[in-house]
Symmetry: none
Subunit: 223 residues, 2 copies
DNA sequence: GGCAAGCTGACAGCAAGCTGACAATTCGGG
DNA sequence: CCCGAATTGTCAGCTTGCTGTCAGCTTGCC
């Protein structure tokens, strides 16, 4: 069974947390989220993560303390520390507590993702960023698609469609939204173009992968 | 720290250079110093270092350009980038150019040393000089290319292209990305220039070495 | 039954990519 | 500093295969 890249995002500000989740899952990570230090410590200590994104200002238990306790227990997963406090002492402290990288707020999500990827690449060897739903798996690094482990060849457009559905696998995606994502909304296309792509994909993937909910949109089955 | 770690410090401001030297050698590093980009590039390309501390604002050849040229040539030593320019684009750019860590000026020497140590610890040993993918092998030290052990003569540009593909052999590399790394994006080239280089390389290497995934990019086969 | 949403196979247009030739540029040697 | 050779960018024409459109069909829903 193939493994996802699991990342633990520890962040109490709901707005930032939401952005984190969006950016990281778009990058192919499976995101677990925790909003307080105690819970975060427990999760990080008992489960396996490929990366932790850790905010320092936390309720219940300070981020630095969490990190130190992990390291004291021999946990070695890469940790990317976020902090609003920008003093150099803090940074040194963070690094000496065992942080692998450091990002001062405010930051751009693009930068966070770039660093997260770099950390994971350095740490875990070249593990693939796999996203799964039912029998289908997407390798967002290789841009590859597989069905029950068997590679399936798809075109660039088809891939983008699958990736988008995967990213929003918790809900049916309306055709209008897909059209806008695949083509710019400036570029006017017959609505049928999308259906054609779906049809071709279904021919390649067989039944039971892409589902339709009439009036709502498309979704990946088994997610 | 009794180990004999060689670090290359690239910095043109004499005052900072002096501080760097003091702090790093106090921390147990053997420090080589270079004050201009050309020289730095040459040193980093021909000698073995365990770490490079690289300032971005340099005379003769910009720091980012130096870094890109190293990476394009397959040099993989850890690089810690220093910069006065603090915009997030710059940081992303730096990381994508292959930097392993980033430190905005002004900074404290304590912090630099902490990060330097962390980088070296993470990197562990020296990077391999020979990289392989399928029948193809690159000798990153003498910039040589061989196919099934038989040397093949390639030009500098062709070599940089191969080295880049080799460095990212786990995914198809889109033409836009290759163009940007081979030439600066400032220098506008016809998109066709890349295809010409690919064609010439394929003529030299034969089929089954450089593959194309239409809409995704180029890749090295058998990797 | 009727309507709207969605499906499908066929097909033509088109864009991505390839190639060979040639011109511009670079580079090393005298 | 100049010349010849190697390298590299540009162009035109070509191949390939992706993808939008169309016409006609099925399915679900009122």
């Amino acid at each position: 069974m193939t493994t996802d890249m699991r990342v633990l995002a520890v962040e109490d500000d709901p707005r930032i947390a939401k952005d984190l989740h969006a950016a990281l899952s778009a990058a192919g990570f499976r995101v677990e989220h925790s909003r307080d230090g105690e819970e975060a410590w427990f999760l990080g200590d008992t489960e396996e993560f490929d990366l932790v994104v850790l905010d320092l200002g936390l309720p219940a238990l300070d981020g630095l303390a969490v990190l130190k306790r992990w390291r004291a227990n021999g946990r070695t997963m890469p940790v990317l520390v976020l902090t609003a406090r920008g003093t150099w002492q803090e940074r040194v402290e963070g690094i000496e507590a065992g942080a692998d990288d450091y990002l001062p707020k405010p930051f751009r999500m693009e930068e966070l993702v770039a660093r997260a990827r770099a950390l994971v690449r350095r740490a875990g060897g070249h593990a693939a960023a796999l996203q799964e739903a039912g029998d289908l798996s997407l390798d967002t690094n290789r841009m590859g698609v597989a069905l029950r482990g068997v590679p399936v060849q798809v075109t660039a457009l088809e891939y983008r469609l699958l990736a988008y559905l995967m990213q929003h696998r918790d809900r049916p995606v309306p055709p209008t939204e897909l059209l806008e994502h695949l083509y710019g909304d400036d570029d006017a296309r017959e609505a049928n173009a999308l259906e054609a792509v779906i049809a071709r994909l279904r021919r390649k993937l067989g039944p039971g992968v892409i589902g339709t909910r009439r009036g709502f949109g498309y979704y990946l089955e088994g997610a």
